[in-house]
């Protein structure tokens, strides 16, 4: 028990004193996962609208692939991105491996199917005649898709929470493509792994608490947004 109390005291000290190392790690975590989430939303929402409303050959196969991709193991993504970015790999010339950009790329690949799959389900859960009505009022297909995405905003926030939580907690892929380099690619999860393996439990617990707090803050604010104006 002593170990845990010490950990919590250390965590409070690190947070309250604004330890530059911890700050840097926390900010990088937010930047990497935030960027990946944003890119996944920008790509995933139009893709979801296309899969939900489009009529083109292979739509079913794409939709199945997206749903299967929601459970993509991060280490497989890490492996894939590592091979792509390896010095002799197809994208090796970018010299991106072991940089935050590589981490964003890997996390985007993890988040994209989650955002796309959940958004597609949210759009398909709407009344199908709603789209016909919007078109019948002169909306272009793009305007109709945007309005329907907004109409499904509650379910979309759930998708953002699911994807965001997954990215913040994700360790396998960022470790493989980032390399856990101090001051450069070390994030909360990889730092926690390292500190624990070195037996420095106080720091590990402190990092873990910050991670939990971030995750809670993200979900609490999105939940507040989702439930706003809703009364049973």
């Amino acid at each position: 028990m002593d170990l845990i109390w010490q950990g919590i005291r250390e965590a409070l000290r690190l947070v309250l004193t604004g330890d530059p190392g911890v700050w840097q790690i926390t900010l990088l975590t937010l930047r990497v996962s935030g960027a990946a989430l944003l890119i996944a939303l920008v790509l995933g929402l139009p893709a979801a609208a296309l899969l939900a409303f489009g009529r083109f050959p292979g739509r079913q196969v794409f939709a199945s692939a997206v749903n299967a991709g929601m459970g993509l193991p991060p280490v497989v993504v890490g492996l894939l991105v590592t091979i792509l970015l390896w010095r002799s790999g197809p994208l090796g010339f970018l010299e991106m491996l072991f940089t935050p950009s590589a981490m964003v790329l890997a996390q985007t690949i993890i988040a994209l199917p989650i955002v796309t799959g959940l958004a597609m389900a949210a759009l398909q859960a709407l009344n199908p005649r709603l789209r016909l009505q919007l078109l019948a009022l002169g909306a272009s297909p793009v305007q109709a898709a945007a309005l329907l995405l907004y109409e499904a905003r509650g379910a979309l926030l759930a998708a953002v929470m699911a994807a965001g939580g997954r990215l913040l907690a994700e360790v396998g892929a960022v470790l493989m493509v980032g390399g856990n380099i101090r001051g450069l690619t070390r994030v909360l999860t990889t730092a926690t792994v390292l500190e624990t393996s070195m037996g420095k439990f106080e720091t590990a617990i402190a990092l873990g608490i910050i991670l939990l707090a971030l995750s809670f803050a993200l979900n609490a604010s999105l939940t507040a947004l989702q439930q706003r104006g809703r009364r049973p």
Binding site: L132, Q133, A136, L137, G138, A139, S140, Y150
Partner: protein
């Protein structure tokens, strides 16, 4: 500009290998309400979606102002039309934002769009609900907002797919009246899909009857309702008291027929010897006590009949009769009481020659089984 606003030419719609709609020709004139009347599954909604450019037919063309609409022109023309459906289909925002939405989609600035939308909400009596969210509106209010939303566009063609059907009678009839007044005031062109013949008669300038994907009759509402082109149309428009007979002779626009051994007169002309159907609206059949047989009456035809069954039909009673052939009459409850109507009772069924619409039999229904028409 002259000529019809819109027209369909040789339109075919197939779902899989099933043809659900086959319309040779149909026009929509400017300023009219064209009612598309048909039973469920007849293809009415499909026809409306084709006409309002929401769906492309497998074959044939949709014509606006004399020009066939190509796929490339479809989006531009669709912006000049609007539809209102059976459900209000409002978005999860305020009534005002909903009503203003189609204008906003066309790039009208928010203030201007909301000003125009509010005017229509006011016109439809729901301005007091402008700031309420859609989910908090009653069914009738939501449908009024939905109608205001479509009307705010001042569309060149308004498609209405049974928008009054889900409303309760207390809110349906006032809304129908208000819509009719608006339509007359602005000379709007509208196509109204309905399975309710009372609504088609009340709102339609012309009625197009759709049966199993085919147009069975198109004409002025009064004509379709009194002179149905076929037995199926007659049944759909409520001229469903149908007698069978043989033409004995004709002259001066009046036919004499033999119906189950009785001589019956009807307005029309058919050759002698022709088997015929007489389509009557049951409300045009009146009942007299059997004792009054032979008394002169303004009604030309008197048939002795026996009451088979009394079935409540809303505020009225439907009286199933046997006069050698089945016949039915609609009577009010007070007159049923006055006559002392009961099952098995003998009465006289009377109707005017002008109320009976004769059709040659087989009556324009080649798809009906031929064996039915054998004597």
């Amino acid at each position: 500009m002259s000529g019809p606003l819109a027209a369909l030419r040789e339109v075919r719609v197939r779902y899989g290998d099933r043809t659900v709609l086959a319309v040779e020709a149909l026009t929509v004139e400017r300023g009219e309400i064209l009612a598309l009347l048909g039973p469920n599954g007849a293809g009415k909604s499909t026809l409306l979606r084709i006409l309002t450019l929401l769906e492309a037919p497998a074959a044939g063309e949709v014509v606006f102002e004399g020009t066939p609409i190509t796929a490339a022109e479809r989006p531009r023309w669709r912006r000049r039309l609007a539809c209102c459906f059976q459900e209000p289909l409002l978005l999860d925002t305020t009534a005002l934002a909903n009503a203003a939405l189609p204008l906003r989609l066309r790039g009208v600035p928010r203030r201007e769009a909301e000003r125009r939308a509010l005017a229509w909400l006011t016109r439809l009596g729901v301005a007091g609900r402008a700031d309420r969210r859609a989910a908090s509106l009653s069914g009738g209010e939501a449908q009024r907002v939905s109608l205001a939303r479509a009307l705010a566009l001042e569309p060149e063609l308004l498609g209405l797919d049974e928008p009054f059907a889900p409303l309760d009678p207390e809110s349906r009839e006032p809304l129908q009246e208000e819509f009719l007044a608006l339509q007359r005031e602005r000379a709007m062109t509208a196509v109204l899909v309905t399975h309710d013949r009372a609504e088609a008669l009340r709102l339609g300038d012309r009625v197009a009857v759709l049966l199993e994907g085919h147009l069975a009759q198109v004409g002025p509402a009064a004509e379709v309702f009194t002179r149905p082109a076929s037995e199926a149309v007659a049944r759909l428009v409520g001229a469903d008291a149908i007698l069978e007979g043989t033409v004995l002779g004709s002259g001066e626009g009046l036919l004499t027929l033999d119906v189950a051994g009785h001589r019956v007169q009807a307005v029309g002309s058919l050759p002698a010897g022709q088997r015929a159907l007489l389509c009557l609206r049951p409300e045009d059949v009146t009942l007299l006590p059997a004792a009054e047989m032979g008394r002169p009456s303004s009604a030309r035809n008197n048939l002795p009949a026996r009451v088979v069954r009394l079935v409540p039909a809303g505020p009225l009673l439907r009286v199933h009769l046997d006069c050698g052939a089945p016949l039915s009459a609609l009577v009010s409850r007070p007159s049923a009481t006055a006559l002392g109507l009961m099952e098995g009772m003998a009465v006289i069924a009377t109707f005017k020659a002008s109320a009976a619409h004769p059709l040659p039999r087989p009556a324009l229904r080649p798809e009906a089984p031929a064996v039915r028409f054998l004597p």
